[in-house]
């Protein structure tokens, strides 16, 4: 059996959902073990066991919480040396990407980034990578050992299947020279009531919203539906809304029950982050916009009129 190492990212002491998604996939590929670093690693090991890890290597040193990438790279490099995994899986998230890149460079092996799936083939691994702006999918065979693959969030569904992982203390000397990029402060800007990635309804606005002054229309609809508001990159880059709201290739991936795209044209880089939503509704004044070709319901019209009317109708229906 191939040995699969999953890099479990901890966020506020909990295993990130993306890492649990990776666990579900890893179980199909071989014997799974995981590594969890920083505060909460021990509890994380229990969670990872439930998701199929046979063993979890942990180290609770806060150096892993406080310094970017380098301490984790030290830990992983020593783990790779002792455990010789065939495949290391990382989430394609800000924190994991940085560790993966440094690790690959230190080991002198390449990696496959931004994958949507991984399969075992001929004793090796093949990753599916969005190509050509998402219109195509390339099958890429990993040539290195260990193979390192970064997988986009929401590519798999997390599920519990396993038992108790053996917890192994990972003794690693984090060099003084690795305590460099120091996180001195954490500031939360988005007081998200409902997390975008977890919302059952996501309403996203694009350039067709006309300006930041109109985003409250989407907020109103979201609160009526118990959903969250997302955005296209065009409006994030324009500074209308914060990056935390961006859906797409370089933003978040979402998979809600209903995704409502308002004034969004439907560029591949946007749709790659939402096309697995169960139902897609598009509101756009252009019947030819690409989003109309993938929506379950496309409404051609002016968002400024439709959205407030929809909010009112939803509210009315709920009080009935």
């Amino acid at each position: 059996m191939a040995a699969i190492l999953v890099y479990a990212e901890l966020s506020e002491g909990k295993v990130a959902t993306t890492s649990l998604e990776l666990m579900a996939k890893a179980r199909e590929l071989g014997d799974v073990y995981a590594v969890a670093l920083g505060s909460g690693a021990k509890d994380a090991a229990a969670t990872l066991g439930k998701h199929g890890a046979k063993a979890v290597h942990i180290n609770e040193d806060s150096v892993f919480d406080d310094y970017i990438a380098e301490p984790a790279t030290d830990a992983l490099a020593s783990l790779v040396e002792s455990e010789k995994p065939d495949l290391i899986l990382f989430g394609f998230t800000s924190d994991s990407r940085e560790v993966a890149g440094r690790l690959a460079a230190r080991l002198g092996v390449g990696l496959i980034s931004n994958a949507g799936d991984v399969t075992a083939k001929d004793g090796g691994f093949v990753a599916k990578v969005p190509y050509f702006g998402g219109a195509k999918v390339a099958s890429m065979k990993a040539n290195a050992k260990p193979a390192i693959v970064l997988v986009r969030p929401k590519s798999f569904e997390a599920s519990e299947k396993g038992g108790t992982a053996e917890v192994k203390q990972l003794d690693v000397k984090v060099a003084e020279g690795s305590r460099r990029a120091h996180i001195t402060e954490r500031v939360a800007e988005a007081s998200e009531k409902i997390k975008l990635e977890e919302a059952r309804v996501v309403i996203s606005g694009g350039r067709g919203m006309g300006g930041p002054q109109n985003f409250p229309l989407l907020e109103d609809l979201a609160s009526a539906l118990g959903g969250a508001v997302g955005a296209s990159r065009a409006v994030v880059d324009a500074g209308w809304v914060p990056y935390s709201m961006q859906v797409g290739q370089t933003g978040k991936s979402v998979r809600p029950g209903v995704y409502i795209a308002v004034g969004i044209s439907g560029a591949m880089q946007h749709t790659v982050g939402m096309k697995t939503s169960k139902v897609i509704i598009a509101i756009n004044k252009d019947a030819e916009a690409p989003i109309m070709k993938m929506a379950d319901l496309g409404v051609v019209g002016d968002a400024m009129k439709i959205v407030p009317a929809l909010t009112a109708a939803v509210k009315a229906k709920k009080t009935k």
Binding site: L111, P130, A181, H182, S244, L297
Partner: protein, 252 residues
């Protein structure tokens, strides 16, 4: 302060891409300086304006990637280095990082600025690899950068806000599009750029060995696409129809 900005030439994101027979993205299309790197150049120039020093643009690419460097020079950067060599065509992220690292080491910069990911390959892996190979700390996803003596401090964008991250220079930072609005090159800037130096370096001069690429493309297929559903004109009944769909999806 000596600042290196890495700049990549990419197919124009506003033009339609085409695929070659060997499944590589056609480079015969219009090409531009990567818009993310344009933000990097802008940030480099602003730091130079505030703290003095020099902004050097480093790129790996074909001969015509000079145009991308020239664009940055016309914005105000001081000089450029282009590593160009037919043997580098099709380089993977690690080889790219090795080549860039070898060239950048010679410059002994205080700060290296990259974009978080490129507009074409978008692996986002060159910057962390480069930081590792240079032996620099990495301060990433910066939407704000401050320099105080030999300390660099960034606001690192996170999913729900930002972190304040500090390190001593030399360091590598990656910047998001929120960092700075790239300036337009002035006519004077464009004229001045013509006489600025772009040094060409061959891969052999850097002593970088070309290994086996990280990945081999086995095949390319069309992405699964969703089928179009119903498209209706908003003739006054659209809201009712949307409510029906919401109810059917059990979110209402």
């Amino acid at each position: 302060m000596k600042i290196v900005v890495t700049v990549k030439q990419v197919p124009d994101p506003n033009s339609n891409l085409t695929l070659e027979a060997d499944n590589t993205i056609s480079r015969e299309k219009e090409v531009v300086l990567d818009p993310g790197d344009e933000c990097g150049v802008e940030e480099g120039l602003q730091l130079k304006e505030a703290h003095g020093g020099e902004v050097i643009l480093v790129s790996m690419g074909p001969e015509r990637a000079k145009d991308a460097i020239r664009k940055g020079l016309s914005m105000g950067a001081d000089r450029g280095v282009l590593i160009t060599d037919p043997s580098l065509a099709g380089a993977d992220a690690l080889l790219t990082a090795r080549v860039l690292a070898a060239a950048i080491k010679k410059e002994e910069p205080d700060l290296v600025i990259c974009a978080t990911e490129s507009y074409d390959g978008s692996t986002g892996m060159v910057p962390p690899m480069l930081a590792e190979l240079l032996g620099f700390p990495q301060l990433t996803f910066a939407k704000k950068v401050e320099i105080d003596g030999s300390t660099v401090k960034v606001h690192r964008q996170t999913a729900d806000g930002y972190q304040v991250v500090e390190a001593a220079t030399p360091a590598l930072i990656t910047v998001t599009a929120a960092i700075a609005e790239p300036r337009y090159a002035s006519l004077k800037g464009i004229m001045a750029a013509r006489s600025k130096e772009i040094k060409e370096v061959a891969a052999g001069d850097l002593g970088v060995e070309k290994g086996r690429p990280a990945e081999t493309i086995e095949g390319v297929v069309d992405a699964e696409s969703r089928k179009a559903g119903e498209v209706i004109q908003d003739d006054g009944n659209a809201v009712e129809k949307i409510v029906q769909v919401l109810a059917a999806a059990k979110v209402l």
